[in-house]
């Protein structure tokens, strides 16, 4: 894959993982570390997710939809409210809910991509790097 964006530039980006299930967070972190990402932040308490989002200002968010108390949809709405309109900060939704309705709803409220659990780790890694590449290109265009 010859790319406009170098692999090092992508791997340097900050990733925020939000999932209430510890093993899933660990899995994603493992996948990302294996890929070479270094700036990885994980939140397992969905109530702290928005604070982390605001304080860390990640380049990409990996978000679980089904969580207790504050679910993914609510967070997606909150992120959208927080961000400026011209900001491109991709959210990749990961969920065990494979229904069409869940997919449509998530994409409608701002998710940029959608992966059903259990997922193929290589596919997830590829989607993450693609989204980050898009963000980097977008930022370059705006700069």
């Amino acid at each position: 894959m010859t790319s406009l964006v170098s692999a090092a530039e992508i791997l340097a980006r900050r990733i925020l993982v939000i999932d209430d299930e510890e093993p899933n967070v660990l899995l994603l972190a493992s996948v990302l570390e294996r890929e070479g990402y270094r700036d990885i932040h994980c939140v397992t308490d969905p109530k702290k997710a928005l604070d982390a989002y605001v304080s860390l200002a990640p380049d990409i968010v990996l978000l679980d939809l089904m969580m207790p108390e504050v679910d993914g949809f609510q967070l997606l709405e909150a992120f959208k409210r927080h961000d400026r309109a011209d900001e491109f900060r991709p959210v990749l939704v990961l969920t065990a809910d494979a229904t069409l309705q869940a997919r449509r709803r998530a994409l409608a409220v701002g998710a940029k991509d959608f992966v059903v659990k259990p997922f193929d780790v290589i596919e997830v890694a590829l989607r993450i790097s693609n989204l980050l590449e898009t963000r980097i290109l977008y930022q370059r265009l705006r700069a």
């Binding site: 299930e21 093993p23 899933n24 660990l26 899995l27 994603l28 493992s30 996948v31 294996r34 089904m66 065990a96 809910d97 494979a98 229904t99 069409l100 659990k117 259990p118 997922f119 193929d120 780790v121 290589i122």
Partner: protein, 656 residues
């Protein structure tokens, strides 16, 4: 009906029309009167003839005297002439000669009596002799005195003739006198007889007509009175008096009256029977309370069904207002409202609680119908009440059971869905980490690599199990959204062939595709159709046993498209065919460790096919196994006739 009318004449007379009877009654005295007049006429004719006879008798007497007188004067004249020779004595002679022939002819015409006629003939002879004698005297006298002796002789002879004639004439006169007396007597007799007859006939005619009119009118009056009586009886509805079945107008009227009465009685009878039947039906109905109300709502009739349902006896409730059937909560307004509705719409229906005599409540279905006469005036109401308490109870129980069943089904689906979701989440971690290990397997030894492979294999199997469960529960909960569209089966089969080829090949089988010769278009969900085909092919690849090939077929089957997946392996144990589509009922449990599969594939396929309006089944070919399913063909009118010819009956499980 008929009094003994043996006499055929009476019979005949009674049957004549009134006009004829009237005519006869009027004509009879009239005829008698006319007869009397005719008799009177004959009497006068006879009298005039008798008078004629009298007149003629007098004429005959006169004429005979005249003949004698003329001849006597002529003789005297002739004698005088003979003695004196003076012409003037011949005057009577000449006069006699002139008028005698006329008188004789007149006499001849008038004489009828034979005796008179006889004497007349003698007179005629004597007259001729006398005239000849006189003519001789006159002739001799003209000869002068020389003939005086002859004249004297002639004169004396002449005298004898006249005397003889005189005797004859006297005899005639005498005879005529006798005849005249006889005729006078006869005339008197005839006149008396005719007068008597006339008087008698007049009296008889008068009496007869009076009697006829009397009888006629009294007869009619009597019969008309009977008729009047019968009409009165008809009006009162009583039986009619017997009447004579005469064929005249009154008879016919009586007959019609009798017929009307019979008709009326027949109708009354029919009405009574109908009412009786109706009453029996109403009384026989036990399950419905049927009763009537007057226009104010007061109960006017009560059937045993009403008694059974509501508890009141007829005598307890008749005359009471029907609002007492309503419980306190509705008594104030509902009865009035129901009557108003029935008055306006003709009928009013309601379902609700009503009160029995003992105060207990029952759930009633009530229909109130307004009863109107032919002029549309309200006559009251009919009310039909049915005790629906039992039905309401069972309906309620049914409703609760149904709701519970639905809730249970929903809970089950929700549970399955939830469970699947909860299972997928840890599966995500297991398979994800497993995959990471697989990716880095060169770091591990042989033994660990084998363990990682086993973990992944079991994990994927578990995942497919969870996926199938999720699918089934989703279909059962009605949550699966199908995307039904026209499908070109050739294209679909090609795609399936491509997808399934590696599975079939890895099982060591040949894969044959019998693509349809012509274009077939189905109407179904593409993804689901492919899913079912792949499932069946995967089953064939897994369970064929000793087979060598798998064949995928597709053809038109009436309004459906039929897809078959066939192998030439060991086939399905006939005893197990009935359990093929049961979830988790994997055939050949002993092989479980060796063979993969969730045991949900066929059950899921069945649900998918049925949700698309098709059917799925198994049939045993000569060798191997054949699974088939149908999906609706895309309805294109111009293809319908073409495909109908290929229709073949099918069942879910064909016996081998």
């Amino acid at each position: 009906m008929a009094r003994g009318r043996a006499n055929p004449l009476n019979r005949f007379w009674a049957d004549r029309p009134l006009a004829l009877k009237g005519l006869v009654v009027v004509a009879l005295p009239l005829g008698i009167l006319i007869g009397a007049l005719v008799l009177l006429y004959f009497a006068s004719v006879a009298e005039s003839r008798a008078e004629d006879d009298v007149r003629r008798a007098f004429a005959i007497q006169r004429d005979t005297y005249q003949v004698h007188a003329l001849l006597a004067e002529a003789a005297a004249g002739a004698r005088g002439y003979a003695l004196t020779g003076q012409e003037r004595f011949l005057e009577p002679y000449r006069k006699a000669e002139a008028s005698l022939p006329q008188t004789m002819v007149r006499l001849d015409g008038e004489i009828r009596d034979p005796e008179v006629r006889q004497r007349f003939e003698r007179i005629r002879g004597l007259t001729t002799r006398k005239r000849e004698g006189l003519a001789r005297i006159v002739e001799l006298s003209q000869g002068g005195a020389s003939n005086s002796a002859l004249i004297g002789e002639a004169l004396s002879a002449n005298k004898v003739v006249l005397d003889a004639m005189r005797a004859e004439i006297d005899a005639i006169q005498q005879r005529e006198n006798v005849l005249l007396n006889q005729r006078r007597e006869r005339v008197e007799q005839v006149r008396d007889r005719y007068l008597m007859l006339t008087a008698i006939s007049a009296v008889v005619g008068l009496l007869g007509s009076l009697a006829a009119v009397y009888l006629f009118s009294t007869g009619i009056v009597r019969r008309v009175r009977t008729l009047e009586d019968n009409a009165e009886r008809l009006a009162e509805g009583e039986a009619l008096l017997p009447h004579a079945d005469d064929a005249d107008e009154i008879g016919r009227l009586a007959h019609r009256l009798a017929r009307a009465s019979a008709l009326l009685r027949g109708r009354e009878q029919a009405l009574r029977e109908s009412e009786e039947r109706f009453r029996l039906v109403i009384d026989g109905v036990r399950d419905y309370g049927i009763f009537t109300l007057d226009s104010d709502g007061v109960v006017t009739s009560w059937n045993p069904g009403a008694e059974r349902i509501k508890g009141w006896q007829a005598q307890e409730i008749l005359g009471h207002h029907f609002s007492r059937f309503y419980p306190d909560e509705t008594r104030g307004f509902l009865p009035t409202a129901m009557l108003d509705r029935a008055r306006q719409n003709g009928t009013a229906e309601d379902e609700g609680w009503r009160v029995r005599k003992d105060g207990s409540l029952f759930w009633a279905n009530v229909v109130i119908t307004a009863l109107r006469d032919e002029n549309g005036a309200l006559r009251g109401f009919a009310k039909i009440t049915r005790d629906m308490t039992e039905r309401r109870r069972s309906e309620e129980a049914l409703r609760v059971a149904r709701e519970e069943a639905i809730a249970a089904s929903l809970a089950k689906s929700e549970f399955l869905s939830r469970t699947s979701h909860e299972l997928r989440t840890p599966m995500s971690a297991i398979l994800g980490f497993g995959q990471l290990l697989e990716l880095d397997e060169e770091q591990f030894g042989e033994q660990h690599r084998a363990a990682i492979t086993q973990i992944m294999k079991a994990g994927r199997h578990l995942l497919s199990l969870i996926n199938d469960l999720l699918d089934i529960s989703s279909i059962e909960a009605g949550g699966t959204q199908l995307s039904i569209e026209p499908l070109d089966m050739g294209e679909v089969l090609g795609e399936v062939h491509g997808l399934a080829a590696p599975i079939v090949a890895s099982a060591g089988l040949k894969f044959e595709l019998d693509a349809p010769a012509k274009k077939l278009v189905a109407h179904a969900d593409r993804r689901r159709v492919i899913q079912v085909m792949l499932n069946l092919i995967a089953n064939a690849a897994k369970y064929h046993g000793s087979g060598t090939c798998v064949r995928l077929k597709c053809r038109s089957d009436g309004a459906a498209i039929r897809i078959e997946v066939e192998d030439d392996g060991d086939g399905v144990d006939p005893a197990a065919v009935s359990r093929l589509f049961t979830p988790f009922d994997r055939l050949g449990q002993q092989n479980r460790t060796r063979l993969e599969g969730t045991g949900l594939g066929l059950a899921l396929s069945q649900k998918l096919v049925e949700s698309m309006g098709g059917a799925i089944g198994y049939s045993a070919p000569a060798r191997g196994a054949r699974f088939w399913f149908t999906i609706p063909a895309f309805a294109k009118p111009r293809r319908a006739a073409e495909t109908a010819a290929e229709t073949a009956p099918h069942s879910i499980v064909d016996p081998a």
